[in-house]
């Protein structure tokens, strides 16, 4: 498994990766004045700025949704971006190369933002990997996925009702290692695609047929009540702890047949 955990597949089915850190409301991130300070250190990599407004923080049951200013800094090739709100920052990409590279970029983004506005603390940290496993054929019966995906993940989707056969399904499994570390796996045979073409440009040729979704959301959430101070080094170290189970889940969810016939094939 250790060897698998470090292998980079030339035909990996990974379509989208995002890392998000949430923090207490930071008013300076809601002001236009702070924008140049945040964007300047990131401008070379993400020169395109797409401002907008995003709902919502509901304060009370009868309160109207709060509109928050948001900014998305987008790379020229539109395969990666930084999404900034007064309560969160997201680095996402459709052109993931490796975890060390992604981690280093996230560290650079965090430092730029923290240096500009001084983030107060960390509420939640999440790392998300979305894989669309596709075979040669665009029409794959559910049962046929057993050769490529762990049988346990396929069997649950075969539940048939008299006269009807399942054609698409999605399951959710929630894992927990301690009160603060969680992993949610969304999985199932689907048709079409999960990762769209916006706001980032989707990688590769879009195929319309069957795929098996493995969508892993590995996250840490504050469970102590007191706010953890923002510390970029701690955030990155925690990211490492989130990455390992996500990768292990992926490797446990696929078979050697998929590795040999699809993932290791040079395109």
């Amino acid at each position: 498994m250790d060897q698998l955990a470090s292998e980079v597949y030339p035909s990996a089915p990974l379509m989208y990766v995002a890392v998000e850190v949430r923090f207490p409301h930071t008013p300076r991130l809601a002001s236009d004045a702070a924008l140049p300070m945040v964007h300047d250190p990131l401008r070379e990599t993400y020169p395109i700025v797409a401002p907008g407004m995003e709902a919502t923080v509901v304060v009370g049951a009868n309160s109207p949704p709060m509109q928050l200013p948001v900014y998305r800094f987008i790379a020229r090739d539109k395969t990666s971006s930084v999404h900034l709100t007064p309560t969160s920052v997201v680095l996402d990409t459709t052109d993931y190369v490796s975890y060390p590279e992604f981690r280093a970029e996230f560290g650079r983004v965090l430092s730029a933002i923290h240096d500009a506005v001084g983030l107060l603390g960390v509420v939640r940290l999440g790392l998300r990997y979305v894989d669309e496993i596709r075979l040669q054929s665009d029409e794959v019966p559910i049962d046929a996925w057993k050769e490529y995906v762990a049988g346990e993940l396929v069997e649950v989707h075969k539940f048939a009702v008299g006269g009807y056969e399942p054609v698409a399904s999605q399951g959710i499994i929630e894992y927990r290692s301690d009160p603060q570390f969680h992993l949610v796996l969304r999985h199932g045979p689907r048709t079409g695609r999960t990762v769209g073409d916006s706001p980032l440009r989707r990688r590769g040729v879009v195929r319309a047929g069957s795929y098996f979704l493995l969508d892993m959301d590995s996250y840490w959430a504050d469970d102590e009540g007191s706010l953890r101070d923002f510390d970029a080094e701690w955030v990155l170290a925690t990211c490492d702890r989130l990455h390992d189970p996500a990768r292990m889940t992926f490797e446990a969810a696929i078979t050697d047949k998929l590795r040999d016939e699809i993932l290791r094939v040079e395109t």
Partner: protein, 216 residues
């Protein structure tokens, strides 16, 4: 009975708001392009054409078998009885009976006077009776003998000539509506019929938009 109206526990239990993934959208499959649809179109066309041809072939076979099976029922009748049936019941002239069977009018006269016919000729007579019955009962053509005698597209040719030329298939196709115009019967039977049987008249569309007929 009490109903618990408290909110159901959320699932996943710890966190309702997953890690933001702005590119993750449940999108329908991308719209198919013409290039995607083309192979399927070809396949459907090919299959449709094949099934159409199979249906036509099967329908023709059924029609011909219907005539032959009826003919087998009439073969037990004598030649004289068969001639009476054709002449009296269906009103066919001796000339046309001779053309349908492929013998001379004097031969027909001899049979009427009691001279024996060959088994092949008796079978031919039975087939003509069977054909008229089939046209009447199967294809609902009233007075089928007169129908066979109608000139095709202002030519001297009739369906009796087609039968005499062993093109029973054309007659059955026309009777069943598979061939909708007498011109199309002739097109399939004698492709050069327009030159061979050129009419001194022609149809035309007048300036008022109505069709007319005039001397060529």
């Amino acid at each position: 009975m009490t109903v618990n109206t408290s909110p159901a526990p959320s699932f996943p239990s710890r966190e309702d708001q997953p890690t933001a993934a702005h590119s993750v959208v449940e999108t329908p499959p991308p719209a198919l392009t013409a290039a995607d649809l083309l192979p399927r179109t070809w396949e459907l066309r090919w299959n449709a054409g094949r099934h159409h041809q199979e249906a036509i072939g099967l329908d023709r076979l059924v029609n011909e078998m219907t005539v032959l099976e009826r003919a087998a029922q009439y073969e037990h009748l004598s030649t004289t009885t068969l001639l009476d049936e054709l002449s009296t019941r269906w009103g066919l002239s001796w000339t046309n009976i001779s053309r349908l069977v492929g013998v001379s009018v004097p031969a027909i006269r001899k049979w009427r006077q009691g001279e024996p016919s060959s088994p092949q000729n008796r079978s031919q007579l039975a087939q003509v009776v069977a054909l008229l019955n089939t046209l009447d009962f199967h294809f609902m053509i009233e007075d089928p003998a007169r129908w066979l005698e109608i000139p095709l597209a202002s030519t001297p040719l009739t369906l009796i000539d087609a039968i005499a030329a062993r093109r029973l298939d054309l007659v059955l196709d026309y009777a069943g509506g598979r061939v909708d115009l007498p011109e199309r019967v002739l097109d399939r039977w004698i492709p050069a019929w327009r030159e061979r049987y050129r009419d001194e008249f022609e149809t035309f569309v007048a300036p008022d938009g109505h069709r007319g007929i005039r001397v060529r």
